[in-house]
């Protein structure tokens, strides 16, 4: 007996969207980050980022410790740009207390902060290269130099990661006697290393093919999403807080603000690469000008009591505008301390950037934000 199977193609194949869970424990999410993708074939139609796995209540904790103890929490919040975060915190305290730190301390801070920006971008270069498909090579090149800089940081602060070296009114102790020579050596190595990374990645066929034209952002969109830092400059907007609202002694140095043209992933990489060179430039100038003298403002009490008031201090960290909103009621600890984290705002635009792209590109998109999850979750 013949069976009637119906005419071929009479029934259309049904397609459904599939949910794909990425993370929280996933090597490509740069920390403990989870996203739920809804995919139509290979294309992302929806994305729901889930954050908060590293929420430690850094703001609440900072409200419960005095102004010197709070410095440590800044390291743990921005664990790739520790000096940058510390700088913002101590500047906020100094601004409110009306403390002026001595010249030498300011120069030490700038040198370390800029070197720190370089190490943070080293991390980006390594991780981003891995995301794109260079596997370990980019990590090898960037971490070779990063170690050199971290050794220098260790000599200065005694720590490789959680420095807690800046203080309201100066720095904790003076740098070692051979700091200048060591710093010059390190800067020479770093400068050469940046060229190596440049040679490895910039014209690499895989990098260009995967990143050029991926998820371009317009300046208007970027501003509306609150995107700051290299990602904003990649869209072509020439804005750097070191220039626009100079803090510390950044008005004394010559440096260029690199910008992109299309705001795509490739531009974000190029901007960061150029920023490393500019940071080395600033550090070299600061090293040249660094005077001798005291490293701590005089007449400061052991326990600082800030006058009543508030300040929103912001500075340019490797990821963008880092802000400390500090409210004081006259006590020896903040009444309220809000951390405006750049990666938090940048990450909120991930959905807008990823929808319409392929699943594999989501990872590159995420990598191009250069998130630090501790800073996102706080």
């Amino acid at each position: 007996m013949a069976i009637d199977y119906g005419a071929p193609h009479e029934k259309e194949l049904e397609t459904i969207d599939v949910n794909v869970n990425v993370g929280p424990q996933h090597p490509a999410t740069h920390g403990v980050f989870r996203m739920v993708l809804t995919v139509d074939g290979e294309q992302v139609v929806d994305l729901d980022p889930v954050i908060g796995y590293l929420h430690r209540g850094a703001e609440k904790l900072s409200e419960n410790c005095d102004y010197r103890q709070g410095i440590g929490y800044q390291d743990r919040t921005e664990y790739l740009g520790q000096f940058n975060a510390e700088l913002c915190y101590v500047l906020a305290v100094e601004k409110l207390a009306g403390i002026q730190s001595p010249e030498r301390a300011e120069y030490i801070r700038v040198i370390l902060t800029e070197l720190n920006r370089v190490t943070s971008h080293h991390m980006f270069m390594g991780a981003f290269g891995s995301d794109v498909g260079l596997f370990g090579t980019s990590f090898m090149y960037s971490f070779r130099d990063r170690e050199m800089v971290l050794d220098l940081f260790e000599e200065v602060t005694g720590e490789r990661m959680m420095y807690a070296y800046f203080r309201p009114g100066g720095v904790a102790w003076d740098v070692p006697d051979d700091f200048r020579e060591r710093c010059r050596d390190v800067l020479t190595v770093v400068r050469r290393g940046i060229d190596d990374i440049d040679g490895l990645m910039t014209e690499n066929e895989v990098v260009v093919a995967r990143c050029r034209g991926l998820s371009p952002l317009t300046p208007e969109d970027a501003i509306n999403w609150g995107i700051t830092g290299p990602m904003l400059r990649a869209t072509g907007l020439k804005h750097d807080l070191r220039r626009a609202e100079p803090y510390s002694i950044y008005d004394r140095f010559e440096f260029d603000i690199p910008t992109g043209t299309q705001g795509d992933v490739y531009d974000r990489y190029l901007v960061r690469l150029e920023e490393m060179r500019q940071s080395v430039r600033i550090a070299e100038q600061a090293l040249e000008q660094m005077p001798d003298g005291p490293i701590m403002a005089e007449g400061l009490k052991r326990t600082l009591r800030l006058p009543e008031g508030e300040v929103y201090m912001r500075n340019e960290t490797p990821r963008g505008e880092y802000g400390i909103y500090l409210v004081s009621n006259g006590a020896d600890r903040p009444y309220r301390l809000k951390i405006r984290s750049p990666a938090f705002s940048n990450l909120s635009a991930l959905k807008a950037m990823c929808v319409g792209t392929y699943v594999a590109d989501t990872i590159i998109n995420l990598g191009s934000i250069d998130i630090v999850l501790c800073e996102v979750d706080r």
Partner: protein, 252 residues
Amino acid sequence: MTQEPSQETTVTGPAPGPMADLFRQVLPGVQMTAKQTAIDVAITVRREDLPRVMQAVKEDQRLAFDFLRSLSGVDHMDELEVVYHLYSYKLGHSAAIKVRCPPDDPHLPSVSHLWQTANWHEREAAEMFGFVFDGHPDLRPLLTEEGLGYYSLRKTHPLAEIEEWQEDYVTAAEAGEPPGERARKKEMARRKAAIIKEVREEARARGLAAEEEKEAVQAAIKAFQEQEEALAKKAREEARAKGPAAEEKGGE
């Protein structure tokens, strides 16, 4: 891209006058108070004016605040406050806008339709302070996915006491006895606080100046501490009389 931030803007920002005047010009008839903070000018507006104010500061070309830098909640005990820090890439100036609401009615209009970035910032403020942002598209908790059941950044949620309480609970459960030393210290702190309060109120009732009040409080604290020390010393001596083992236990 033609927007170039002005090179002249410094971190000290404009004096309170010009920025506040600009606000008054753009928003005539809106009740507001201006205050110079360490860097920015802070403008406090009423809750019912907020949608109008926010719309205007973003779209009016004299202010043109196209960037919402930060949105912070602050708990002032009797009132909750939200602070919007704004920046204009076009004009290179910044300001803060504040709005207050009572803690038992924490409804505020959402600004996420003006600045996309407000979406996550408002979600965070909502879960940490208990704000309700009307008109927000998706007000789920952000950092604590399942929610905490309390608003952790409010001042009614003190950090130290809860930790202490937990520690007490654990040690007491382990030892099978009521918490000793820590409870004693807590009790002492409570008594001290009561004495300070009493002396202060008395001083205020007598109309003393602030300096004299401070002195009176410090004298009372000193007397209290001396009394406590004398008691502790007596306890130690008694313990010593009983024997060395008991002293060790009692001293700790």
